[in-house]
């Protein structure tokens, strides 16, 4: 099973994702800001990333990890196509719109781990 970093400034969302992922056998590391997430990146297999956060935010995180080989799944309440395109061009592997289904999160994580 994998080590997953959840980066979201909303504590309730981190808790929910953490619960669902640990129940499915993953280990979860949580970060409340993109900057904190970058510090915790070592040994992480997949990142679940929010976009709207104080500081450098999700887009700043994406440009900082571009080319490092860690798959990043963006989980955001932004549903505008331009935002999705922007995140995907910045290196995100896939995009999940909030509110999400647990099954959607778990299958995106599996796909990312299998390199699909």
């Amino acid at each position: 099973m994998a080590r997953i970093l959840v980066v979201d400034d909303e504590r309730a969302i981190r808790r929910i994702l953490s619960k669902v992922l640990t129940r499915n056998g993953h280990t979860v590391v949580e970060a409340g800001t993109a900057e904190e997430g970058l510090d915790l990146l070592y040994g992480v297999d997949v990142v679940l990333l929010d976009l709207a956060m104080p500081g450098i935010g999700g887009m700043g995180f994406l440009s900082a990890v571009k080319g490092k080989g860690v798959p990043v799944i963006v989980v955001s309440a932004y549903y505008a196509e331009s935002k999705i395109d922007e995140a995907l061009s910045a290196g995100a592997r896939s995009f999940i719109v909030k509110p999400f289904e647990f099954a959607e999160v778990l299958s995106s994580v599996s796909d990312a781990l299998e390199g699909k």
Binding site: E10, I13, I16, A77, Y79, F100
Partner: protein, 223 residues
């Protein structure tokens, strides 16, 4: 009037907050339905859901209030200041008690013509913030008086809290910034400024002598 950029910001904020809140509510309920949480986890989950629902109510109130400013829904009511302050404080009693705050009022007998609904929302926003950002067992003082000046003079209302205050950086643009900030949805003070500007009034903030915030509303009397 709000310009298009401000309107877009508010719509974007509302969409983002709705998405986030729905995620917390939907996923939180799904976790509770699974039934494999212990009692403490369940209680924590319920608290999170309640806090999110409260935040949503705050955002909704702010958006409704803003929409009335632009729609020009203004009444010419008789506003008796003491009665209105008392009524708004009664509505906030639960929040003030939860923090064991002392709520004090001091003011002259003043009545003036204006939109009572908007005046109440302005008061509720300022007092709500003074409660939310205060320290437990702190104080909130609401005071008002008439100020002589050009023409008919003005009505002045001050709200002072004993919270941690605010840095100069945070104070700058506090009435024009839209978006979530620490503990708030970031629409309330924007509404206050819009409503007061519609009424020909203004609002300012400074650090109170005790270190908290002192908000000052000035509303010129109309003929």
């Amino acid at each position: 009037m709000m310009d298009k950029a401000e309107m877009d910001l508010i719509l974007g904020l509302a969409a983002h907050e709705l998405g986030t809140t729905l995620t917390v509510l939907k996923s939180g309920i799904a976790l509770l339905k699974n039934g494999d949480m212990d009692e403490e986890e369940e209680a924590e989950q319920l608290r999170e859901l309640e806090a999110k629902a409260d935040a949503m109510k705050e955002l909704l109130d702010g958006i409704v209030a803003l929409s009335t400013v632009d729609a020009g829904v203004w009444q010419d009511d008789e506003i008796i200041v003491q009665d209105t302050v008392d009524e708004v404080l009664l509505g906030l009693e639960h929040d003030a008690l939860r923090k064991r705050l002392m709520m004090m009022t001091e003011g002259e007998d003043i009545a003036f013509k204006g939109s009572l609904w908007h005046f109440k929302r302005i008061l509720a926003t300022l007092l709500g913030n003074a409660i939310k950002f205060n320290e437990p067992e702190g104080e909130v003082v609401v005071s008002w008086y008439e100020e002589e000046g050009e023409d008919l003079g003005a009505f002045v209302l001050e709200v002072e809290d004993t919270g941690p205050g605010m840095s100069a950086e945070k104070m700058e643009g506090i009435f024009t910034r839209i978006g979530p900030s620490e503990g708030g949805m970031g629409v309330g003070l924007f509404f206050v400024r819009e409503a007061l500007s519609h009424m020909g009034g203004s609002i300012s903030v400074e650090l109170a002598e005790g270190g908290g915030c002192l908000f000052k509303v000035v509303l010129p009397f109309r003929r």
